[in-house]
Assembly symmetry: C2
Homo-oligomer: 214 residues x 2
Amino acid sequence: MRMAELSAESGVPVATIKYYLREGLVPAGELTSPNQAQYQARHLQRLKLVRALLDIGGLSIVDAREVVRAIDEKAATHELLGAAQHGLFVRGEEVDDEGRAWAMGHIEKIAEQRQWMVQADDLYVKSLVSLLCTLRDLGQERLIDIFPQYAESADAIAQVDLEAIGDLPTPEVMVESAVIGTVLGDAVFIVLRRLAQQHASRKMFGTGDEEPSA
Amino acid sequence: MRMAELSAESGVPVATIKYYLREGLVPAGELTSPNQAQYQARHLQRLKLVRALLDIGGLSIVDAREVVRAIDEKAATHELLGAAQHGLFVRGEEVDDEGRAWAMGHIEKIAEQRQWMVQADDLYVKSLVSLLCTLRDLGQERLIDIFPQYAESADAIAQVDLEAIGDLPTPEVMVESAVIGTVLGDAVFIVLRRLAQQHASRKMFGTGDEEPSA
């Protein structure tokens, strides 16, 4: 199909598709004349993925390109799972040595309980250090006490996630499914957490016979 | 303290603090002369909260103002829990009637299992509809099969979340803790999910004796 059809089919404006092409998010079409390219179903599929990563996953162009690259290079599954949202929660703010040591103490305790291997220079571990220090800074250290239970749920979900992709037919499909499941799965989980909180909150604080809040 | 001290203490530039004041994210200081205001510890605390909501929670100014307003008005706890990230995953994209009916079928099944009350016009339910339709559009319907297990974990986490705030001394502290726990808790959970995936992935696909990936 031509660019105009690709745009009509995907609902993405032509100018935006051109931008994605320039940024390397969508592969180039096959040139059929000097200024005419043809696009296939795989371009349409990729375009949908890019939209989902940017709009729903909230990824930056740079992070989305990293994810797309990982898919194209058929990165090892356990590397690939890390490609999405790398660095998302590590902000420029400095964490001092005391804060880092304090946070690492909490993280290592959780890792030991769950038998996770963690290293202080891992980007996710750095993110956690930064988050824990922020919570302490906000006077919410006590929330940290519930994170071992978060980790237990995270383990349960990761198990299900891996089982869901483990039996897919080809590495390409597996990798794409892993990325989508990771990025969109975050969004799904966050929304489910809100619904579960509404439910728990109604049970705990509500009168029990009120209308569900809109 | 004066504006300059508030800036030094919080690490937030004066121009940014002024912007937050104009946007109603931080309450005005007490005027001690026509162009001199004094700020208290509560301003510093609010400033830290706003930074966390914007930088780590990734909230827009409008959403952050909504959260701050909910705290100030001491919204009912189970309303308040909904204030953060409202509308985050509902994008402008239209979902057609067939898609909505299909997605609601899945959502109602999950809600029934978990005894949640859900209504089609709830913002979170709309978000889920939009997410499920996106997954189907990307050819990943099969991922939807694992969401009942996500919902089970979401219930476990919501229970812990509510217990953690249920015994706090005052409504103000409870509300603030609920907001921070919800917004920053999302980030913490997402990072823990990645660590758990790395662990599960190494067990399933790795050789078992490799170095943990950085």
